[in-house]
């Protein structure tokens, strides 16, 4: 950077150094170039591939098949099922995270001795690597010696094998997701709660409003923007969920926890390497994510505009 500065000084007079415009582009260009090369170009490339029958291992040039892949996918009942599983997963996980996270935030709102320490403890799970978390919860769920069934009061081998039964496997993944991410919702809600001006409550007390009324008419509406952001953010992440499921179940048993991204990975990188079809599926997922992201960013702008 020092050499760039001196070079600029030589061409642009003694004292001024680089002009503002030069600095601006010097600072922004590397970031934009990297993002374009690694994000924009690949996106167009895969859009093209999604209209072909290309397979990454077949060694044949891509052949244009128009909307064939999209037609296939939309007619594939199996994939519809995976979308439904993903939606169900998102709904269950985000719903529980909202309840647990908001509840914890309400409890932690008034500080007590050591509340900062306990808050940080609660936040630890969300910083961990999802795939590693998935792997060690496998041990925790183990029906013979896992601690989960033991704490629920089942004897060894007597409790349900959570990960092996289609009926419980998705719930098992949801529980881990909630364990990891309810603290995230809590963190956002706490920041929302702390920003509520005290005078609103004072006014309500003067008006003899009961606690129920205060909660519904003051607390909830005031936290709502941040809560909404937390929910949207978690929904996006739930639709992207991949690591945790791979570590915990790998999509099994059968296809009980086969989320869209896991299936996408299988189509693209295992077996036949059906690259064209995978690209088309990726685009469908992308459109869904972009739609939710748009909501997210719009509500974010609203909150930031107010703050």
């Amino acid at each position: 950077m020092a050499s760039a500065a001196t070079a600029g000084a030589r061409t642009h007079g003694r004292r001024r150094g680089l002009s503002d415009k030069q600095i601006l582009w010097l600072f922004i260009a590397p970031t934009l170039i990297l993002l374009i090369l690694w994000n924009i170009f690949p996106l167009f490339y895969s859009l093209y591939l999604s209209f072909t029958d290309y397979s990454a291992i077949a060694g044949q040039a891509p052949k244009w098949i128009g909307l064939g892949n999209y037609r296939d996918i939309l007619g594939d009942l199996q994939l519809w099922k995976y979308f439904a599983t993903t939606g169900k997963y998102a709904l269950m996980a985000v719903g529980l995270e909202t309840v647990v996270g908001f509840g914890l935030a309400l409890l932690l709102r008034e500080k007590f001795k050591g509340s900062g320490f306990f808050t940080t403890l609660i936040l630890i799970p969300m910083m961990l690597s999802p795939v590693v978390v998935g792997l060690f919860w496998k041990l925790i769920y183990n029906p013979n010696f896992g601690i989960f069934n033991y704490l629920l009061g089942f004897g060894p081998g007597k409790g349900p094998d959570w990960l092996a039964q289609p009926g419980t496997a998705l719930w098992a993944v949801v529980i881990v997701d909630v364990w990891m991410w309810a603290p995230f919702v809590m963190l956002l809600c706490l920041s929302g709660l702390n920003a509520i001006p005290e005078y609103l409550y004072e006014a309500a007390v003067i008006d003899r409003a009961n606690p129920w009324f205060r909660f519904w008419r003051i607390t909830l509406p005031q936290v709502a923007p941040l809560l909404l952001i937390a929910i949207l953010f978690r929904t996006i992440e739930a639709f992207k969920a991949f690591d945790l499921v791979m570590g915990l179940t790998g999509g099994g048993p059968g296809d009980a926890t086969e989320l869209v991204s896991v299936s996408l990975y299988r189509i693209a990188f295992l077996g036949q390497f059906d690259t064209g079809r995978a690209s088309a599926l990726a685009y469908i997922v992308l459109v869904i994510i972009i739609a939710i992201s748009n909501l997210y960013i719009r509500s974010l702008n609203r909150v930031r505009g107010e703050g």
Partner: protein, 333 residues
């Protein structure tokens, strides 16, 4: 200005605490219940982590023991197994090795006593090294470039700024699997598949959007007057940036660095799909490699422990910036 604010905050803080002597019994009970629930939740949420940490030091018998053993005699088999390759010894060979006066490191003797001889370093050590190199270099690059771009976005009128920032953020919202297919093909073409540099570049881009957003928030908080004063004193723009703005942004840069490190350290999907052997990082290998040849839970637990400890420490270091970090700097505490 900041002092005035903090004083006002203190005064508000002094006025807030609940006077215990003035509380009715029901409120005091409610408050006790509240604290109890929070503490209980924290303890229950930590059980999995404690459990994992203790499993890493359990013998094979203790791992599968029911009821679960909490107080165990620490056993290093899992940790040593994680880092070494071993061969089983027959009884005669074991006796001979133990009887020999040959100088050997303590961990080798430790394993020989348990019927195994160490034959070499486990591939996992190489994977850990890859993780360190790739996470480290990509973090430096992402924070460096991100800081520059963030400064420009914070201080200059950039044409189409809102759209550009939106675009930068949106790249991070893409699911890894979606981006990876074309990048996989691209990398194969230019021979970046399964290379350190390929993964470093990808992680740099992956973290760049994050570091731009986070650093922009930190720069926005540094008053422009600082630089303007420096400019009046005859500094050039770049000098003002280097000598006035950067020192003021140091704590922000530190927080950004640690967040980027964690993301790169924890990353799984890209590494799984874009590497096979040479540049593979630790997370995908914890899943595939450690499960090989029967499930050795103590070894897996040791592997996860190696992974979790740095992150737990960092969480405490970062606690003030956590909210910012997990929301891309969009929300400040």
């Amino acid at each position: 200005m900041t002092t005035v604010e903090s004083k006002a905050g203190e005064r508000a803080g002094v006025a807030r605490p609940i006077r215990v002597d003035k509380l009715s019994t029901t409120t005091r009970v409610a408050n006790g219940v509240r604290v109890l629930v929070v503490v209980l939740y924290a303890l229950i949420a930590l059980i999995p982590i404690f459990w994992m940490a203790s499993t890493a030091f359990k013998s094979r018998a203790d791992v599968v023991h029911i009821p679960p053993r909490v107080f165990i005699k620490p056993n290093l088999e899992g940790v040593i197994s994680l880092l070494t390759d071993r061969a089983l010894l027959n009884a005669g060979r074991q006796k001979a090795l133990l009887a020999s006066t040959e100088e050997m490191p303590w961990y080798r003797r430790y394993m020989i006593e348990r019927g195994m001889d160490i034959t070499g370093v486990s591939p996992f050590v190489g994977r850990l090294k890859n993780s360190l190199i790739i996470a480290g270099v990509s973090t430096l690059a992402a924070v460096g470039l991100g800081t520059l771009a963030a400064y420009a976005f914070s201080r200059y009128r950039v044409p189409g700024k809102g759209d550009l920032l939106f675009f930068i953020l949106s790249t991070r919202m893409l699911p890894a699997v979606v981006v990876t297919i074309p990048i996989f093909l691209m990398y194969r073409q230019v021979h970046l598949h399964d290379t350190h540099i390929g993964l470093i570049l990808l992680y740099t881009v992956f973290n760049l959007s994050f570091s731009v957003w986070l650093m922009k928030g930190f720069f926005d908080e540094i008053p422009r007057e600082y630089e303007e004063a420096a400019l009046v004193d005859g500094y050039t723009r770049l000098q003002a940036f280097r000598k006035v703005v950067l020192p003021n942004a140091l704590s922000g840069i530190a927080a950004t660095t640690v967040f980027c490190l964690i993301f790169a350290w924890n990353e799984y999907a890209f590494s799984l799909m874009l590497t096979t052997e040479k540049a593979r990082t630790a997370p995908p290998s914890i899943v595939t490699m450690l499960g090989r040849g029967g499930i050795e839970w103590a070894t897996i637990a040791a592997g996860t422990l190696v992974f979790l400890i740095p992150v737990v420490v960092v969480t405490f270091v970062l606690r003030k910036n956590l909210l910012r970090g997990v929301t891309f700097g969009a929300i400040r505490q």
